[in-house]
């Protein structure tokens, strides 16, 4: 398989958030700022890459009937690793992402890729796939985070662009839904245009 295609599909054609509508909880929950979105995205990417790697490594050793529990254990392990590492070295980001770090376990993107891709493909392809999907996910979260930050607090990656208040709504829960909703429309329009 063309590895570049394999890698890039996660950005547009099979973007987890904008196209497949997977992993929406953290997408909405942590994107109050671009930096949070980026952090969450990278954490998820790490888990995705690692679990894809391990799953493709052990795919032939695991009996079919227990493959799902085994995958869950593998994923949960890496999630906990991320959790511990973040807590130790980037505590501020860990606090901001909060509950959504352990919840990477139940992010459909991760289990979905492990099952649909890594358990059937070579180690190298699985790595590339994980990285592509993860970075695509990261991109989506960062974009959403940036949009919300810009509208909600008038800043971009923490840099204040306007003085005073912006539209607070966008960093509050309703704003998350609205911003994502309209971003999806935008994504649809781009897709229409490109095809």
């Amino acid at each position: 398989m063309n590895q570049w295609k394999n890698f890039s599909k996660g950005f547009i054609k099979e973007n987890a958030v904008f196209v497949l509508f997977l992993g929406l909880c953290p997408t909405l929950g942590v994107t109050t700022s671009a930096i949070n979105g980026l952090g969450m995205g990278l954490a998820t990417t790490f888990v995705l890459v690692m679990s894809n790697l391990v799953v493709s490594l052990v795919k032939n050793l695991i009996p079919d009937k227990v493959r799902i529990p085994a995958f869950i254990v593998i994923i949960a392990t890496f999630v906990t690793v991320v959790e511990l590492v973040m807590k130790g070295y980037v505590p501020a980001l860990f606090d901001a992402l909060g509950l959504f770090i352990p919840l990477i376990v139940v992010n459909c993107v991760v289990l979905g890729r492990a099952e649909a891709f890594a358990s059937k493909n070579t180690i190298w392809s699985s790595l590339v796939d994980g990285a592509g999907m993860g970075l695509g996910f990261t991109m989506a979260l960062t974009v959403l985070g940036a949009v919300r930050e810009l509208l909600g607090s008038g800043a971009f990656f923490g840099m204040k662009l306007i003085s005073g208040d912006a539209m607070l709504l966008f960093i509050l829960p309703p704003g998350a839904f609205l911003a994502l909703g309209y971003l999806l429309v935008l994504a649809n329009m781009i897709k229409e245009k490109s095809s």
Partner: protein
């Protein structure tokens, strides 16, 4: 030979039309508008004209350039949305905030769903709550009535409900009441609050006109007002120091405006009398809950939005009484 028109029956129609209904509502809003202009002067004139103009403009632009359909911006519905939005804003609010509100009302509340008749939530309320959450400071600075020539520079104060909410933290109702305008002033509208909601009397007049024209039925407004009166009445009887009396609750805040104009919005309210009563009771209860127990002094706009969300369920499960289900003899 004549080329006849052929169509299925019926072949006769009423004279009623959507624009006629819309303009009927707008006529009924005139007393409240007059009162508002009387008390808030130039501020109200600016806010309402900006609101109406931007609602119509945004409706036109969105329909023309984004949805690519024939614009219907002049059917009265955008005008009505604009007017109602202006009614629930403070008369000293900067005009650019009004424009954002109009964009939220028409863009998010209405056009996103496909335009008139397709929206789930009342557009004017979407605009108002959007602004209320987005610009809490500007949205809670209420001009004192009687400042004719002042706009954003008007002297501001708290609404009666705000006074009550703030005051009850460490004082009793009896101690706060002297700071609240008299009931007569509340009735006439000489109080602080959103531009169009101050005068209970003017709004009640509007309601009577709409009922006379059969634009709305009594079910929704009366149930809401009655529920609020009864609920606050019970609380008041239980502890008059902690809870204000029903009359205070009826005359203050956006209750009248909400019950008469927002909750009765055709598109977002239930279809059957029974459903309307459930809806009205629900709005009344939630309004009081938020007013009395919540963080915000006023809850009617949230209550109506919440029950806008419940309306499809109400419509699904509360059906009109069908003909001929049960047979009565005698």
């Amino acid at each position: 030979m004549n080329k006849f028109i052929v169509s299925p029956s019926p072949h006769a129609y009423t004279d009623e039309s959507v624009p006629k209904l819309m303009y009927g509502v707008i006529i009924s809003l005139l007393p409240a508008l007059a009162v508002s202009v009387y008390f808030f002067g130039i501020g109200m004139i600016i806010v309402s004209s900006v609101s109406v103009a931007s609602c119509i403009l945004f409706e036109y632009l969105i329909q023309r350039y984004m949805m690519k359909v024939k614009p219907t911006h002049l059917d009265g519905s955008a005008l009505l949305t604009g007017l109602l939005l202006a009614f629930c804003l403070p008369a000293n609010i900067p005009f650019w905030i009004v424009m954002i509100g109009a964009l939220a009302a028409v863009g998010i509340g209405k056009m996103t769903f496909g335009g008139l008749g397709n929206n789930i939530f009342n557009p004017a309320l979407v605009g108002r709550v959007f602004l209320f959450i987005s610009f809490p400071v500007a949205m809670t600075a209420w001009p004192e009535p009687g400042q004719w020539m002042h706009y954003t520079d008007a002297v501001t104060g708290a609404t009666p409900l705000g006074l009550m909410k703030e005051g009850l933290a460490n004082r009793t109702v009896g101690e706060i009441m002297p700071e609240v305008p008299s009931f007569l002033n509340l009735l006439l509208g000489k109080t602080m609050g959103s531009a169009g909601e101050v005068s209970a009397l003017a709004l009640l007049l509007g309601m009577l006109y709409m009922m006379y024209r059969k634009i709305i039925s009594w079910h929704i407004p009366i149930t809401i007002l009655a529920t609020v009166a009864i609920f606050t009445g019970i609380l008041w009887l239980a502890n008059p120091d902690r809870f204000a009396d029903p009359l205070f609750h009826l005359l203050t805040g956006g209750l009248m405006l909400g019950a008469i104009y927002m909750a009765t919005d055709y598109v977002t309210s239930p279809m059957t009398p029974k459903g309307m009563i459930i809806y009205g009771v629900g709005i009344g209860v939630v309004t009081v809950l938020i007013r009395v127990f919540g963080a915000y002094p006023e809850g009617v706009q949230f209550a109506i939005l919440i029950f806008n969300g419940f309306t499809p369920l109400i419509n699904k499960y509360v059906k009109p009484k069908r003909f001929g289900k049960e047979v009565k003899h005698g």
